[in-house]
Amino acid sequence: MTNEPTAAARPIPRGEGFWGEFFAFCKQGELRFQRCSQCGIWRHMPRDGCRSCGSTQWAWERSSGFGHVYTWTVTHRTLHPGFAEDVPYAAVIAELDEGVRITAMADGIDADDLQLGLPVRVIVREDGSYRIASR
């Protein structure tokens, strides 16, 4: 299935604070997540502090984008007009090699081929949006 932008407006992330920084990196073609400077754990979604050690010292570090399918759902009836032309579409949670998980629409993966552990990669597109593709 393909998931190109459709005519109806899709919701645009509000992108405040750390989320705004995350999306700004995406627009530069870079997938970056926060990584705790104290205990080294990567995190997403972005937050002020590390949930493991409590440290507020961290840096944006670049992810390989490689990982595997953790779970998914294939939506047949969308709850939003901006996705009406995309159904059915798969919203995948991928677990990346750095340990973080990321949610994105599948790109070029047939719904029937989705399985737990399927090797995938995150593709960041020119508009800063990102998709999960097989590798």
């Binding site: 992330p13 953790y70 759902t73 709850l79 939003h80």
Partner: protein
């Protein structure tokens, strides 16, 4: 050591409105009606109610108090666990009456789930939804994840969030449509005995279930609960005061809430199957000093069939991954080993968060239910909401 709240408080009054699609009146009006009925059922007058615990922000406590005449409140609070709210609110009410902060606490919930906030019609809202947060707009505990991570991927509502949990579980353990269908079918069968049930008179077959459209895999339309308008309320007093109640008091033997970690974001949990009830249930059972084997019935929060399956495992009724076998063979039917959702649940009675489950549990324990579990003494109610928050109450007569 005995838990300080064990059996120290009782539900002494229950009330509800009709459950409809298109109430044609405000949520406040319906909540007020349910509250007045619950207060009368308890044998009290409004001025004797001095506590109010709200679920979420559908109505303001000040307005409820002014509408029905709660003229000297000593305790107000609200809880924020989505559909797990009413059961969690019982914990707050139990604390208030046990400590003496209040003597009679009202726990109401109501909404126009069909005529106002209907999630399944969200796509018709068009531009408004596109620019806003979708179905959870204004719900700050979840809005960051939904706005920034989920909505751009076409994920807006519970039927999609919970399908992430369901897909992984079903792939790991071989759960099939036969297993989820059992929940939908038993709910609808039980509702046929309940005159208040929205689906009374409308039976459901396995063929109907399988023919219903896929919404977001693996959940079909009949895996989803009803969207209805209506309200319920219960009144909680100390066990001592409950001796004067009009009806058989129903003791809050155990009650607990549980939060997944983190609660505002599904995908960063160490295990996405870390649902709140896994934490709440052991606490509630320990407090009540009972085990699942002691339960005569259970009202399990059933926003979606698969959510029931996940909770059955979290309660320890069967091992992880064994729920498919567990629900087979009629075990959860009215004449089975552990009848569940005897009123029809959110699937077939109405969606009033978990408060209609609590009302039904009270009626069962008073031995006044439409579809009575004969001789029942102990029952369980669970709540589930937001990103899989959980709550559990063990009630006895």
């Amino acid at each position: 050591m005995t838990h300080a709240l064990k059996d120290q408080s009782c539900i002494v009054g229950v009330g509800e409105t009709a459950f409809v699609r298109g109430a044609g009146r405000t949520v406040l009006s319906q909540v007020a009606e349910a509250c007045s009925r619950a207060i009368a059922d308890a044998g009290l007058v409004p001025s004797q109610v001095d506590g109010l615990v709200l679920s979420g922000t559908k109505v303001f406590g000040e307005a409820v108090a002014a509408t029905i005449g709660l003229n000297d409140l000593t305790y107000t609070a609200s809880v924020h666990l989505g559909g797990a709210n009413p059961v969690a609110a019982l914990q707050s009410a139990a604390m208030a009456v046990t400590t003496g902060v209040a003597t009679a606490v009202l726990v109401p919930y109501g909404w126009n789930g069909y005529s106002e906030t209907r999630i399944s019609r969200r796509e018709e809202d068009g531009a408004a939804a596109a620019q806003d947060a979708g179905p959870v707009a204004g719900d700050d505990t979840m809005s960051q994840a939904v706005l920034n991570a989920y909505a751009p991927t076409g994920v807006f509502g519970p039927v999609q969030f919970y399908s992430w949990l369901a897909t992984r579980h079903s792939e790991l353990y071989g759960i099939t449509a036969e297993h989820t269908a059992e929940i939908a079918l038993l709910s609808r069968a039980n509702a046929q005995s309940n005159p208040k049930a929205y689906m009374q008179g409308r039976p459901l077959t396995f063929e109907d279930y399988m023919a219903s459209p896929m919404i977001s895999s693996p959940l079909r339309m009949y895996d989803c609960c009803l969207e209805t308008d209506g309200a319920c309320a219960v009144v909680v007093t100390s066990a001592e005061r409950a001796a004067d109640a009009l009806h058989t008091p129903v003791y809050i033997s155990g009650v607990a809430e549980g939060h997944p970690f983190p609660a505002d974001d599904f995908e960063s949990r160490a295990d996405i199957a870390d649902i709140g009830l896994k934490r709440a249930a052991p606490r509630a059972f320990a407090m009540a000093d009972v085990s699942v084997a002691d339960l005569d019935f259970a009202q399990i929060y059933d926003c979606f069939t698969y959510v029931v399956l996940l909770q059955l495992e979290a309660l320890g009724l069967c091992g992880t991954g064994e729920v498919g076998d567990y629900v087979s063979g009629g075990r959860l039917r009215i004449d089975g080993e552990l009848p569940i959702n005897t009123h029809g649940g959110l699937h077939s009675e109405a969606h009033v968060e978990s408060l209609n489950h609590i009302v039904e549990a009270v009626r069962q324990l008073r031995h006044e239910a439409d579809l009575q579990v004969e001789g029942c003494e102990v029952g369980l109610v669970t709540g589930w909401g937001n990103f899989a928050e959980g709550s559990a109450a063990i009630l006895r007569r």
